[in-house]
């Protein structure tokens, strides 16, 4: 086990965004955080990354935050700077992996965008630039909010393959994904979040067994059916 989250709670006024969220992250796995819109996926990732304070709960070991890097969704950091500046800044500021710069650029097809300022990129292009920033950071755990959002089918598959290659090198990925089909194909294990609560944790088989325990007569052929049964 790489780190363990226990009892994380977060409220926004009267709304409980996260309630007693607990799960484990294992070394080298691709863990999918799945749940419907408003389930609290982004809130959970931000609490773990330390960019949003949680109300209570703990993560062990205590130095876990220095071992992860979080790539938010829907941001356009340093909008007036070109992509290659952002990559160089990532390497310099975060102590990133300079030797992987070219490889990441090729994997994410960023070469034509290097001189373009980040603020002028399309949603999909920006997502690729953000993923590149994340992949260049040195932390062993990468938290990515919606890594496939805004990408077309081909790009989605290419990026999934690229992320897999990085996971194969021992990097742990914790991905928030709302497209259940994508998540089912890509992740090793899942944390199922609904209404701010963890509804299940484990592999597709584990979650299917959990769903069957609730309704023994049902048959679950894929992750989407399991998701609907548990949320």
């Amino acid at each position: 086990m790489l780190f363990e989250v226990s009892g994380i709670c977060k409220r926004f006024g009267r709304i409980a965004a996260l309630s007693d969220v607990s799960f484990q992250v294992r070394e080298g796995e691709v863990l999918g955080l799945i749940g419907p819109n408003g389930a609290g996926k982004t809130t959970l990732l931000e609490c773990l990354a330390g960019v949003l304070p949680s109300d209570s709960g703990a993560v062990s070991p205590r130095d876990f935050s220095s071992r992860l890097f979080y790539v938010p969704d829907g941001i356009a950091p340093w909008p007036s700077q070109p992509v290659d500046w952002a990559l160089d800044f990532t390497i310099g500021f975060f102590g990133g992996r300079a030797e992987r710069r070219d490889e990441v650029i090729e994997q994410l097809d960023l070469r034509p965008l290097l001189r373009q300022s980040i603020g002028t990129l399309s949603k999909g292009q920006r997502k690729r630039a953000l993923l590149a920033i994340g992949l260049l950071t040195p932390q062993p755990v990468l938290l990515i909010d919606e890594p496939f959002d805004g990408l077309d089918l081909r790009q989605g598959r290419e990026i999934a393959a690229a992320l897999r290659r990085h996971a194969a090198r021992g990097r742990t990925l914790f991905l928030s994904i709302h497209q259940i089909g994508d998540a089912g194909r890509f992740c090793d294990r899942f944390v199922l979040l609904s209404g701010g609560r963890v509804c299940g944790e484990g592999t597709v088989a584990d979650l299917a067994a959990l769903a069957r325990a609730r309704d023994a007569s049902a048959v679950y052929g894929n992750m989407e059916e399991v998701f609907l049964a548990l949320t």
Binding site: E46, A49, G50, V51, L52, P53, S65, S66, F69, Y70, V71, P72, G74, I75, A76, P77, W78, P79, S80, Q81, P82, F93, F94, R115, Q116, S117, G119, T120, I133
Partner: protein, 423 residues
């Protein structure tokens, strides 16, 4: 520093400085005898007051109305674009991160100060006199003022969710300092003391070549506090309640430090004309006054005689002697209906039981009364070493081209090149 707001600041500096430099050089030339006007008056002209204070006042204008937007853009822009969420994951002290941004902004400000600095080169080419210490103190004053603006704007940008709110609050604080100045002019007392430390008053001191230690220290405390508030509120991962407590603690600490700094004495007059000092021989006598001196001034806050007395004599006296107590006595702020009071207009000097009364508000008159009440001899007349000024009767040749054409051209060309490189 590729933000449009910075380029706008750079662009505006040329015409702003040009206008003030050209008009001040023209006025200086006229009083120096150009075109046959009032020849000889220029003997009293000092470049610091005649040329550099108005020329560099463009910096004050830019620091109030343009620089805050550049600072807000840099600090709030990170929050808006999401860059802050990435930057916060580098586990570095928040103050170091915001301090680095402050230094970048200061570097940007130094670039924006190139037009007034190039005015110095032009002035020299006209054959104008330069006195480096007074010029350096003026430049330092404007850098310190920019530091205050940057710290204030950074704090506001960090405290608020939206840059426009930060801009409104920053300008509100600036307007607030003007209100303090206005209150000081009417009510005196605490307000007068507070108004002594507002940015415009601080810049005015530097414009006269006066560097006061308490003012500089308080400005530095305010800059550090502003940046610290910004650092506290950019830590998005810390609970709001804790950030509020930390800010309150910081404000209390800053208030204590400001009070302590206000008690610090020490100043230096860098002006070539010794605009803020009595003649050296008089200062030598004043430093060795045998008895503590008390001065009671029966003049209302808004009476022009009181301002003249303060500016021409008492401000210099405070710097020259330690054992001094000055009391202002008046029942009203404008003094109009006090004129008929028996003692109105009187200035009483007391030392060791002796009393001398005078109504004179000039430096010479005040010194004469002090020497009389203290029973010391006035120093011998040293008029031969009095500053006579550097008259210069030349038109501002080439300044229009420099500030209205060349500088804007360079800025626009640079902006286009940077923009093209980014595409």
């Amino acid at each position: 520093m590729v933000a449009r707001s910075w380029w706008v600041l750079l662009l505006a500096m040329g015409p702003l400085v040009g206008m003030s430099f050209i008009s001040s050089v023209r006025t200086y030339a006229e009083v120096s005898g150009l075109n046959g006007t009032s020849g000889g008056v220029g003997e009293a002209m000092a470049p610091l007051i005649g040329v550099w204070a108005p020329t560099f006042s463009a910096c004050e204008l830019a620091a109030v109305f343009l620089l805050p937007f550049v600072a807000i853009r840099l600090v709030a822009g990170d929050r808006q674009s999401g860059a802050l969420k990435l930057e916060l994951q580098r586990r570095m002290p928040a103050f170091a991160r915001i301090g680095a941004k402050g230094l970048v902004l200061l570097a940007g400000w130094l670039a924006a100060m190139l037009p007034p600095l190039s005015a110095i080169v032009l002035w020299k080419s006209y054959g104008g006199a330069l006195y480096a210490p007074e010029l350096m103190s003026l430049v330092a004053g404007h850098i310190l003022n920019a530091g205050l603006t940057i710290a204030l704007a950074a704090a506001m940008a960090a405290l608020t969710e939206h840059p426009s709110t930060a801009a409104i609050l920053t300008l509100s604080v600036t307007v607030g300092t003007w209100i303090v100045d206005f209150f000081a002019a009417i009510h005196g007392g605490f307000w007068e003391r507070a108004a002594h430390y507002i940015p415009s008053a601080m810049v005015a001191q530097f414009q006269h070549g006066l560097v006061q230690l308490d003012t500089v220290l308080i400005a530095l405390v305010l800059i550090a506090s502003g940046l610290a508030v910004a650092a506290i509120w950019t830590r998005l991962g810390v609970a709001v309640k804790r950030r509020a407590y930390e800010s309150a603690g910081l404000c209390a600490l800053a208030a204590g430090l400001i009070f302590a700094c206000s008690l610090v004495n020490g100043s230096r007059d860098f002006s070539e004309s010794r605009d803020n000092s009595f003649p050296e021989a008089d200062e030598e006598v004043l430093r060795r006054l045998p008895q503590p001196l008390t001065i009671e001034v029966h003049l209302a806050q808004e009476d022009p005689r009181r301002n003249e007395l303060e500016r021409r004599a008492l401000s210099k006296l405070r710097r020259a002697t330690r054992h001094l107590q000055i009391r202002y006595v008046s029942r009203t702020s404008i003094g109009m209906f006090e004129e008929t009071s028996p003692h109105y207009g009187e200035i009483w000097y007391q030392a060791d039981g002796h009393k001398v009364m005078s109504r004179v508000t000039t430096a010479e008159g005040v010194l004469e009364s002090i020497y009389a009440v203290e029973g010391v001899a006035a120093p011998p007349d040293t008029s031969e070493i009095v500053f006579r000024g550097h008259p210069l009767a030349v038109p501002p040749k080439g300044a229009g081209t420099m500030f209205y054409v060349l500088w804007p051209g360079i800025v626009i060309a640079s902006a286009l090149i940077v923009r093209r490189r980014l595409r």
